[in-house]
């Protein structure tokens, strides 16, 4: 909205005193309440960082927990979170981006398009715990169990594992990716497409050569937001393979004869930052001794999600700037 904030009624001084004070009181009240909300929010964050900052150092970030979680660090939890996010992106990004391309570029305003849009919106509103129910019931007990039975792999995928946690989170963040990608595709000026068509490009050539490259940082924004969302979720992964304590990183080695290539083993259990906070607060042997670790872990998780969000904001800002330049030229 244009500069409506500069509009002031110059006549306010001429108003009767009661109206004038009422005016000041009302505006003041809004300001005070806003300040109060921000103050409380910052106090909460401040408390967490104040209590947790002392413990965070290189060792804390890399080491495994020792001595009943009272010592050591959260290295495996960070590794597990990063691995799950990596797998989640692999699952969610192709489907999400391609869906968005269909909705924005191909679909005419018909029933199919409206149904897809409605589904995306609905998927975004489903409570995260329901994804957990679905992940356990469908992915683990239905797909995984049957896969093991058919392939004769014993008990490989029919149990809670990183693979299913990432697949479930991928379903959860799909709407985030689709909505951001649509926004990014939509922002590419019409004239650009027209120019490509004018040069004789087909629809697909236009999308591949003009639309997608231009919306790249917009799409990236969506992916970063999705990761930030996924890393912060706890409820859906509670029963999908989060472990209290794993001595080993969920890594396996692929034997290639000459040398072995390490890779993340998606059939393993994993430690997860957000779950780690949950169990530290409720199940560690001595909550008083683990208190610094609890606050430290919380501070790390907040920092992680906030940094991701800030990166997304910067990317979005850049994306808009680039498009503005394109438009002006």
């Amino acid at each position: 909205m244009p500069e409506e904030k500069n509009i002031k009624n110059k006549e306010i001084r001429k108003l009767p005193a009661s109206t004038k004070y009422y005016e000041y009181f009302a505006i003041g009240l809004v300001q005070v309440i806003t300040a109060f909300v921000f103050l409380i929010l910052f106090l909460v964050l401040g408390k967490i960082f104040y209590e947790g900052a002392g413990i965070i150092d290189y060792q804390f970030l890399t080491e495994a927990p020792r001595n009943n979680m009272t010592e050591g660090g959260i290295g495996p939890a960070i590794f597990g979170t990063v691995s799950v996010m990596f797998l989640m992106i692999i699952f969610a990004v192709p489907i999400g981006v391609f869906s968005a391309v269909y909705i924005n570029e191909y679909a005419e305003d018909n029933l199919a398009q409206r149904v897809i849009r409605a589904s995306v919106n609905n998927l975004a509103g489903v409570p995260s715990i329901v994804f957990g129910l679905f992940g356990l019931g469908f992915f683990v007990l239905f797909i995984g169990k049957n896969f093991d039975e058919v392939m004769g792999t014993g008990l490989l995928l029919g149990q809670p594992a990183m693979l299913w946690a990432s697949a479930t989170l991928a379903v959860l963040v799909l709407p985030t990716i689709i909505i951001s990608t649509i926004e990014a595709l939509n922002a590419v000026p019409h004239s650009q497409r027209a120019a490509a068509y004018g040069l004789g490009a087909t629809k697909w050539q236009t999308i591949k050569g003009v639309v997608l490259p231009q919306s790249r940082s917009g799409i990236l924004t969506g992916i970063i937001l999705a990761v930030s969302r996924g890393a912060g979720e706890t409820a859906p992964v509670l029963f999908l393979g989060c472990a209290f304590f794993l001595p080993q990183l969920p890594v396996a080695y692929l034997d290639l004869g000459l040398f072995a290539v390490p890779f993340i083993n998606p059939a393993e259990q994993f430690m997860y930052l957000s779950y780690h906070i949950f169990i530290l607060a409720t199940q560690s042997s001595n909550p008083t001794l683990t208190m610094p670790v609890q606050f430290g872990t919380a501070a790390v998780l907040i920092t992680l999600t906030v940094l991701l969000n800030i990166t997304a904001v910067i990317f979005r800002f850049k994306f808009r700037r680039t498009l503005q330049v394109v438009r002006e030229n």
Binding site: N68, F278, S285
Partner: protein
Amino acid sequence: MFILKSKLVFLSIILLFAASCKNPQLHDKTVITIRGSDTMVNLSQKWAEVYMKKNPKVSIQITGGGSGTGIAALLNGTAMLANISRELKDGEIEHARELNVEPMKFRVALDGIALIVNPSNPIDSLTLIQIRKIFSGELNNWMELGGEDRRIVLYGRENSSGTYEYFRQTVLGTANGNQQLDFATSTQVLQGTAALGEAVSHDRSGIGYGGVGYFANRKDLKILSIKKDNNALPISPIESDNNLNYEAIYNGDYSLSRFLYCYTNGTPSGEIKEFLDFILSEEGQKIVAEMEYIPLLDYQNQL
């Protein structure tokens, strides 16, 4: 460019799948998966830590979630060892046999269940009947027990917890007409013994229960003595110097004690057997004592 990238991504997915099918285990390491009781999760972790230091070829994974989770995992085959803080019910063993699982039990430690209140609470001991009345909601003011005029606030565990089940069967038991009593619906349910201790330590009218090992060294909690009946002597699971009252817990003078079990599917062999042997060895039982549970070794010697 964009397409090339997504092709690479697809390739790597296929590779990951192929690799995970081909090589499901860690590189030349034996994995032991343990699931079950939250009461035992810290103990198991300590056992695992020490055992893995001695046997670097073994990797032990531990997950809590409650005894019920452990049983489910043993039946589904997702765990090789189930930590269970109570004996399996007959129905559960039958159900297991239907699924071709033969649960074998191993006593690995002894545990006393302590009743805890806030240190400011003047009450020091309760009879079993009083405890039953408190937790089934029949008594709801501390004044009726000789305390201050406050509503009794009950703290309990999740219904998947072995401690919950044990406490329900032993203390609440069956009342008139073979009706199993349930906890009062107002019982607050906490996700772990640690959270429970934390809550009671801050709540002047609270009472809760849990493994005595969790609470023995905490000054901000009071552990109650228990009387078998009105005329019996009150017996505390700890001694005055905050050490565990081993004797009373062994010989059953303290009413709320139980064995902790590890269940395996069939007779254990290989690495699992070695790990169980380690648990029952002197070294393993020393860890039990360190973790404030009651080691079996002395107990067996005493017999």
